[in-house]
Every structure is written in structure tokens, then in C-alpha cells.
């Protein structure tokens, strides 16, 4: 599958308001508390306001029955990537919970690295909407293997820590 040209309005620069200048430390600290990410060997490898990238290394411990990365593992890293993309834009006294997400699997995930990227598309006071893409990388080639769309809720007054 070739790369894809998205409509013009989705390619312009972002302009999200960062409500907590300490968003990076706050987000990384929260990620460290996710035992499930540690169990999957997942690493937070990219963080900007409204954006988060999380990678894993494919292997037998993360596989489905044919040896590819399990769809549930793909779901786990792209759910966290979307969730922390949203969390970067939250005030410091709010927690994030996933309301729901939907995941399409486009190609088997295998190779040296699989990376999930979450991007905020709307950051509201209560609800945040994100999209995510998951890529498998092998020998310098990047394959789009999953697409996600997600709804998050901010729990105000419930500090994450």
C-alpha cells in the first residue's frame, strides 16, 4: 500500500494550547506507571503537544497464532499513544481515561520495530478525539499496519499521580 495524500485541512501545522508547561515530565511519569507497557516491552519514543509515539520489538512474547504481533498488542500501544497524546494537552490536575477506540488492521505487523503514533484531532474540556496509525518497519521500509480512532475523557480534579 502506498503512502496517502490526506485532504489539505489535515496537513496544516497544529496549534494546540499547552495548559501545563510540565506536560512532558507528567506524561512520561504516567507512562512509567503502566505495568502493561512494561510487560509488553513498550517504549515511549516520541512526545509533543498532542502527539505521542510508542514502539515495541516484535517477537514470540507478543505474537498471535501465526507469529505476527497480536492485534491486542497493537491495540494496547496505539491506545496508550492516543491516550498520552491527549494527556499532553490536559491541565496538571486531570487524569485521562479511554472511553472507546476502534482499530482496523491493514497488514500483518512484523519486522524489527512496530511503532504506534497517536495524534489529537480535537481537545475539548471533557472529551478528546484522537487518531492513531501503527507502522511496521523492516530493512528501512515502513508499512502502515493499523488505523485507530479514539475518544478520551478528562477527569478534572483527579490528578493522575
Amino acid at each position: 500500500m502506498p503512502p496517502v495524500l490526506l485532504p489539505p485541512a489535515l496537513t496544516a501545522p497544529p496549534a494546540f494550547t499547552v495548559r501545563d508547561p510540565g506536560y512532558e515530565a507528567r506524561t512520561r511519569e504516567s507512562f512509567e506507571r503502566q505495568g502493561a507497557m512494561r510487560t509488553l516491552g513498550a517504549r515511549l519514543v516520541g512526545l509533543q503537544p498532542g502527539f505521542c509515539a510508542i514502539e515495541i520489538t516484535p517477537g514470540p512474547a507478543l505474537s498471535q497464532q501465526h507469529g505476527y504481533v497480536h492485534a491486542g498488542v497493537i491495540a494496547a500501544i496505539v491506545d496508550s499513544a492516543g491516550g498520552y497524546a491527549g494527556f499532553t494537552l490536559f491541565p496538571s490536575d486531570a487524569s485521562v481515561l479511554t472511553v472507546e477506540f476502534k482499530l482496523n488492521l491493514l497488514a500483518p505487523a512484523e519486522g524489527e520495530r512496530v511503532v504506534a503514533e497517536g495524534q489529537v484531532l480535537k481537545s475539548g474540556r471533557t472529551l478528546t478525539i484522537t487518531r492513531g496509525e501503527v507502522y511496521a518497519e523492516r530493512g528501512g521500509k515502513r508499512t502502515l499496519c493499523a488505523l485507530m480512532q479514539q475518544t478520551l475523557i478528562a477527569m478534572h480534579g483527579k490528578s493522575d499521580a
Copy 2:
């Protein structure tokens, strides 16, 4: 909500293979047979390989209880936009059916024009995956009001006409 910078891999030019050079006439003719689009006053206003745009004019006949465009009407035009985006890439002897789609509503849809844009992200032999965005336009300003993710199936050997 500001426009959004998507990851680099999603902004490169598309390279879809057109299997039927007569895709445009075939797609427009199929759209004309959708009585539901006529009932909603929907117009096909953009068509390229892997891309389709459909617009409506907001008004009382398309409204929900507060006067905005009904989420189901948004769903109808973005489902058709995604479906015909996929259909442009089909061979001439195949029909398209929607397997499923998921729609997030981000902002009330109102204004002079509401336009749904569907874009293919993977065109497989059996399944096609698309994303869609719906924008409301008022006084030259464009607001992103819905996001869709969709799965289509190609029915080979069942000509659409």
C-alpha cells in the same frame, strides 16, 4: 479546533492503481442510483482515484432536535464518500458494500455547506479501508465536525449497474 499536522507518512502523494479507466463515469452513475442521496439533496462534488467528496446544504429537512445536521445524515454522506472513494479503484465488474464504519462527532454541523470527504488508505482485493472527514463551512470558515473510519468489501463478478 485548529488544523492538525499528521505524521509524514500520511502526507506523501498517493499512488493507487486505477484498474478501470472508466471509473469516473461508473462511479457517478452509481451515485445517481442512490435514492437516499437524492432524498438528502446530496451532491457528488469531488472524485479522484481513491477520493470522493459529497456535500449537502443544512436545513430543517436534515436536522436533529436542536436544528443541527442529524448525525445520521452526516453518517450517510461520509459513508457514501468513503464507499465511492473505494469504488473508484475497483475493476469494472465489481460492486461495493459497506462492511462497517465508525463515526465520531466533533462539532455541531451547521452553516452554508457541509462536505464529507472519503479517502482510501488501503485498497485490497477483497477489503478496502477508508477514512473520512466532514467539514461545515460558514462565511469562508471551515470547521472539522466529524471523523470516520470504514471497511468496504468488493463483490467481484457482480457488476454494480
Copy 3:
């Protein structure tokens, strides 16, 4: 496709708290204000706390390109059915908005009547989660043709009327 036995926990009687004894008149009045439902010829044919059914009569005005009911029309009635199922449980000073829904199409919708049933599965203060089923009826036979899962938000202090 045969009918399906769902897990025991989902078949016990409901026990939702009705916060507004006038829920039925309030819900029917809101439905009447949905111009899109009138345009589709949709009728509200069932209403209980946490449940709503909406029917349409298939025909050329609601069709997709092969003559079946358009997936977007299915989406519209099942979105309203789920939304009003949730709305029956709201206090009288709250409005309902659809946050998102996901729809699977299982069989072509055709016949004498198509009915969408929405059922609340969780009614929270802010968010409500529903499921929906859409059936096509022909000659006394009922075919399951779509499944929906939906998130609603209650706008407190914003009376619907």
C-alpha cells in the same frame, strides 16, 4: 443467520432509574423536532426506560445503488434509537448528543419494514453507552441486518426543548 443466545448476564431484567417521570412525552416531543427523521419517514414505535425503537418503510427514496436501504439511513435510525433510549433516563434539564457510534452491516435491508432498536447498557452521569440492532421484516420473517455500539453525552442544564 440464526438468532443468538447471549451470555446470561445480558438477559436479566433491566433496573434503570427513571429520573424524569415525564420521560415519555419529553422524548416523543424531541423526536418530533428531528426534521431528518421526518424526511426519512421514520416513526418512533417503541419507548421504555432505556429502550427505543424506530421504524422505516423501505423504498426508492431510502435506497443505495442496488435498491436496498442505504447504510446511512440504517445509521440514522439506529443512531436516533440509541440516542433516545439514553434520553429516556436523563433528567428533564439535560440534552443528548451522540459522541460516536460504530455500525456493522450484516445483511441487505429490504422488506415491508425495517426497525432499529436501541438499548442502554450503561447510563452514567456524563456518558451513556448503548447497543443497537436493526431488523428487516418480510412476510413475517425477521432478519438481523445491522449491529451498533454507541456513546452519548448528557449536556446538563441545557434543556432539549
Copy 4:
């Protein structure tokens, strides 16, 4: 949240055709090959034609940042439960892949046991549609904590083993 009464048509007994009498051994053997399920400590605890249940024991290794079971772990077990529910109905020479799924989180997952139940609602030659529910159990009390809707594809002629 109370248990919920679903519409009559969804409560009748199932009548799926089992195409492979050896479905149980075939399904259990495939589950054993899912390294990701082993990593999460997941056990297959229920299997019938069109139905599969998978359980985990909540704990720090499966947690999100607040100590509850991570949404991605919930996703992983309910995706496998739906997938193997569908797989029970496949012929012996077909593999199963998840096309997509959508997950709503309704309540924090914690307690002594979390169990995901997948149920087929339509088993077609190419596509299978399932629904899933995830329950958390503590002290004999069962809480519905997630709802799923899923599309599977059968890869005929590609034996799973």
C-alpha cells in the same frame, strides 16, 4: 449498572452449523500458539460453537497508570475471545484474522478475575461478526466493564497450524 434485558430476537438459542467436528482441539491448539496470551497470563476458559471465554488475573503486570487493567489488555483478551468464537465455526483448512474491532470501556477492570466473552452474531463464508463483553469479578459480584463489536475474515485454504 444493572444487568440488561436485550430484545427477544437476541435471546433465542443459537443454531450455528459446525463445519469441523474437531473445532475444539483446533481452537485450543491455536490459542496455545498465541505468545501474547501467554505473556498476559490469559487462559481459555470457555469454548462452544460460536462462543469463547478468556480470563486474566488483574495485577501490576497488566495495569494502566492507576492500577486498573489496561484498556489494551482488555482489548487483547476480548479480541482473542471474539476471534476464537468465530474460529470454532470455520472449516478445518481456514485461518482467522481480525479485520477490525471497536471497544467501549464502561467501568474500571479490577478484582480477582476479569473474563472476556466473545459471541458470534453472523458467520458468513468470508466475514464473521462478533460481539464481546468483559466482566470484572470481585467477591462474587460481576461488573460489566467493556463492550466490543468485531469483524473477522476467514482465510480459506490457509490452515492455521
